[in-house]
Subunit: 471 residues, 2 copies
């Protein structure tokens, strides 16, 4: 029995649909049972035939009924399992809010992985967005399927920039635009999978790269870092080594620069053993006291270097865009492996950044950023120098992080907890070590991208209070 509520907000056809569906699901209407023709039902219910037809169309579309020649619609057999289900009981998963605990207590967040919001080039982004939408419309590319490698327009302008700033030697066909450094690494892991199952890393090194290598099935070997960067003479070699991951311009996390002699030794070692060098150049355009150091890629004669860059440090981590430069031999492997894959970066966003690079607004933004970070670094330098001789700030004048060394015996855990009591969040270097027993207990990792210059004196005062026993 179908009942129509003419006062209901629910359209009549939906009322009919819902009631017939319910009767099929609860077994009132049996398999193969013929249902009223739309003319009959319309008459019975006092509704238009179109209304009934709409209800039947929906029931047919969902496979509850099917048309049988000459006899109208019949009911499909629905298994017992369906009976009585209307809404599944949903087990509520608890959203893990591990951040909330800290957020309440933290006044100063000394991280290097997000910026103070004044640093985003908001008006430039708006301007380039509007221009790029119009441009894409003119080129009839707003609704096009994309080049998985990245838009040519962006690659061409990025190439010009990288040649100028990082000395890279390549053409735009070797550049691949990705949705961030980790995706770049994933591409490379998949392309290199037949060249060995081990990757060498600096110790200490970037933990998020290590996690990715491990998930891709690689074993990890390590090589120590001293104040001249990766110790090339300590590099071991086994036949299963596929690649070496390094941060030569600004070692992560120690902040040192790989000297030129070691650069050549490293390239020579790579060539000798057929090992690829994964050069992560994440923030080298942000060098305050000198020009950026030329990249390894720029002096690689043999095509062993894979170069990685990102816009996370220069624009915002929320941009989610990075890139890599593959040697010619690997670009072919990339195309083969990813032939049926789609792009991962919005074409509009690629045009926006392409436009920023082309117009010089990107350079202008970097200059501004470097002024800001330089001042922050100097403010930290002065503040820490003033409070004690037993604490040393280590930085090569690049990027958005530095290390603190304590000359007194102490532990990272205690220092972090004490700082947090004063409302300052600082970070351990522990997770950057493969062999955590080797991690110096008297070192901390601090970022300056999320704290304004005005806040630094109060922040260091709090740290002085927190660490009084070791100063």
């Amino acid at each position: 029995m179908i009942y129509i509520d003419k006062k209901s907000m629910i359209p009549k056809y939906l009322q009919i649909y819902e009631q017939i569906k319910k009767e099929i699901l609860n077994g009132t209407m049996q398999q193969e049972q013929r249902i009223f023709s739309s003319r009959e039902l319309a008459q019975v219910l006092g509704v238009s035939r179109n209304t009934v037809n709409s209800a039947y169309a929906q029931l047919e579309a969902e496979g509850y009924i099917y048309p049988k020649r000459g006899v109208g619609f019949r009911v499909i057999k629905v298994p017992q399992i369906a009976n009585g289900i209307s809404h599944k009981v949903q087990e509520k998963t608890k959203c893990i809010q591990k951040e909330s605990f800290y957020k309440q207590k933290v006044k100063y967040e000394l991280t290097n992985s997000s910026h103070t919001s004044d640093l985003f080039p908001k008006s430039i982004w708006k301007k380039c967005t509007l221009e790029s939408i119009d441009r894409l419309e003119q080129e009839a590319k707003l609704t096009e399927f994309q080049d998985k490698q990245g838009e040519l327009y962006l690659r061409q302008n990025l190439l010009k920039y990288l040649k100028r700033i990082r000395g890279v030697a390549c053409d735009e066909s070797q550049i691949v635009i990705t949705c961030g450094f980790q995706q770049s690494l994933e591409y490379v892991c998949n392309i290199l999978s037949d060249t060995g199952n081990k990757i060498m890393m600096e110790e200490p090194g970037y933990h998020k790269a290590r996690v990715l290598f491990e998930h891709s099935g690689y074993l990890i070997g390590t090589v120590p870092v001293d104040r001249n960067g990766l110790c090339v003479d300590k590099l071991s070699y086994e036949s299963n080594v596929s690649a070496l991951y390094t941060t030569p311009s600004h070692q992560f996390p120690t902040g040192v620069t790989l000297t030129i002699d070691r650069r050549y030794e490293l390239l020579s070692w790579a060539q000798k053993h057929g090992v690829y060098i994964l050069e992560d150049d994440f923030d080298s355009e942000q060098r305050f006291y000198a020009k950026p150091v030329p990249s390894l890629q720029s002096i690689d004669r043999y095509g062993n270097v894979i170069y990685f860059g990102t816009f996370s440090k220069a624009l915002s981590p929320s941009i989610r865009m990075g890139y890599m430069i593959l040697p010619p031999a690997l670009i072919e492997k990339y195309h083969k492996r990813y032939d049926e894959y789609n792009a991962t970066v919005p074409v509009l966003n690629q045009y926006i950044i392409g436009r920023m690079l082309e117009s010089g607004l990107y350079d202008k933004h970097i200059r501004r950023l470097n002024q800001v970070f330089k001042k922050r670094l100097e403010a930290f330098h002065i503040a820490f120098e003033n409070i004690s001789n037993h604490i040393q700030l280590v930085s090569n004048g690049t990027g958005q992080y530095f290390l603190l060394h304590f000359s007194q015996e102490t532990s990272q855990e205690v220092l972090i907890a004490k700082a947090l009591e004063q409302g300052v969040r600082v970070y351990s270097t522990m997770k950057f070590w493969q062999d955590q027993a080797e991690c110096p207990p008297n070192t901390l990792f601090l970022g300056l991208s999320k704290i304004s210059i005005e806040e630094i004196p109060d922040c260091v005062n709090r740290l002085q209070k927190a660490w009084d026993a070791w100063l």
Copy 2:
């Protein structure tokens, strides 16, 4: 000997830097050689001491020289390999332009994977961009590190939409925002890797999903599709089956809908064997003659269904955004596996789409899109009906593609070549078949997203000319 060209555009400090670097690299300056103090060199060259200091700072930053207490700077040992390198000779890789051959000849592109450019909601996108930038600035999130799972604001608004349109039963903690369907699948392949090494697919099915499963190391099993969708009674089961991939709302590429009886049987089979159902619901909101069919996810009582959606069909493939709904048990595995991974989708783009959903502009856009696609589908229907009884258009009135069946004996290759001669590009169904010998030779795959309604009569006229022998 250093020479300063005072008329040059190149800054003096760079001229000094370049010449000293060259002398070190070509061996004129030897290892451990002391170089002039900045005072001495400034005097010799007649430049300011600051100029020389800048050059030295750069040389030191790059590791060509190092300071030695009391004696100024000394030269580092540079290996012979470095000699004479200024720019590496770059092997130019040829950009494969496989598309260019077709582009010249093609007047009508019957694809389903890009849209006519009038369909992009350009002014909505601009409006929501400007609003979202301001909103993110207010929330101090423009420069924040992101939730890898996707912004809560988008997930909440997407959830409301999916509940209303697709009947999904979940909460926002189960939604993961991705940079497209393939990335969603990659996540799932990695999460499910311990549950078996085989994935069942519909035959025929979506080839880009198959490629991804194969690259992830899975074996592929197949199950046939008839006019009621996947043949659940023909599903084989082996203990190594991890998941079944299906397109129940709009089978790809046959265009049929999985009937409700089979839906329950499929869920029952999945529960019995502990197999996950990967429900790819790529275009089901685009249903022209009935409401969208409720998703499998909406009637899944046991948490076996993983639901996949995308914005590629509704907005543009250039958007690069998709999403998935994981059952509670898997969301925990996702967080564990991807703990150290970053988000892949720009936060601003997430806010833009969140805003479109919240404001109802997304619904409005979908209604417009459906009107357009419905008219195109009907125009094709009428045009093909008019030209012959030996050709049949197959569609369930959803989305952006349909099949053509020829009742005469023919071959896809010949039909495609003949159409191309007339300037129309149509597609084979061959690549959708795992066992290509089973692919019907008298079927073609056509899309209607890239052709305007006005062009359809001329397009079908050309096809009539091309296929005259089989009509």
